[in-house]
Symmetry: C2
DNA sequence: ATGTCATATGAACACATATGCATATGTTCA
DNA sequence: TGAACATATGCATATGTGTTCATATGACAT
């Protein structure tokens, strides 16, 4: 074999759009902070807002984005709604990026 | 141990901004297409543009973004400048995202 | 040096997006 | 039912971003 690199076929355009949309979600520091905040424990919206010292509505807006992209789990308990990271998959994506940034 | 999830410490804000900036780069379908195009072979700017059926300047602008984020390697040969993906690291980030999108 | 080709850059525009304010929705408890 | 609390949503706005056009920069050959 001349070339050791495997040819990676380009996914369909539609999938590429979805992929770009996914990475867009990770491309905002507020959302990253939210993800870190709920990475080990679920948290209510207000708790997240206080923890990050930001407006409740800002957090709520961004949580919606995370929800729509299936990156968080949601659980209602009375008046409060608790959010947590959906899976370790999400953490891995972040860690991969972090590796690149830190090197 | 009650909680099996490891507590992941939140990186400093400055690093989070860098991290968000990195993911922003992946958050555009044109740049993703460019990355796929040069993932197994280096390619000249014009070749990339023709291959994706886009303006040369559009590609050039986006290649600059990729360059600034150290995601591509650059090699000059005469009048042409050849771009290739910087490392397999980049591919892994894309694949991670793809896994999430396709599931 | 001049013309030609390849690439990069600047400006302008259209479009997307993050945030904050005000308010609506939904839940609990009295 | 009504008050109090938690969350979500609509709107307005400021800021960011992708693309195109025109042009500059740089390299090569004659």
């Amino acid at each position: 074999m001349e070339n050791t690199k495997k040819a990676v076929e380009m996914p369909d355009l539609e999938i590429l759009f979805d992929l770009a949309d996914l990475f867009k979600v990770f491309g905002d520091s507020t959302r990253l902070r939210i993800m870190y905040t709920i990475s080990d424990n679920e948290m209510s919206v207000l708790n997240i807002a206080e923890s990050l010292n930001m407006e409740q509505s800002t957090i709520s807006h961004q949580l919606r984005v995370l929800r729509q992209n299936k990156l968080v789990r949601v659980r209602r308990d009375g008046k409060q709604i608790y959010y947590s990271l959906d899976d370790d998959h999400v953490k891995k994506i972040i860690e991969m990026g972090l590796d690149h940034v830190l090197e």
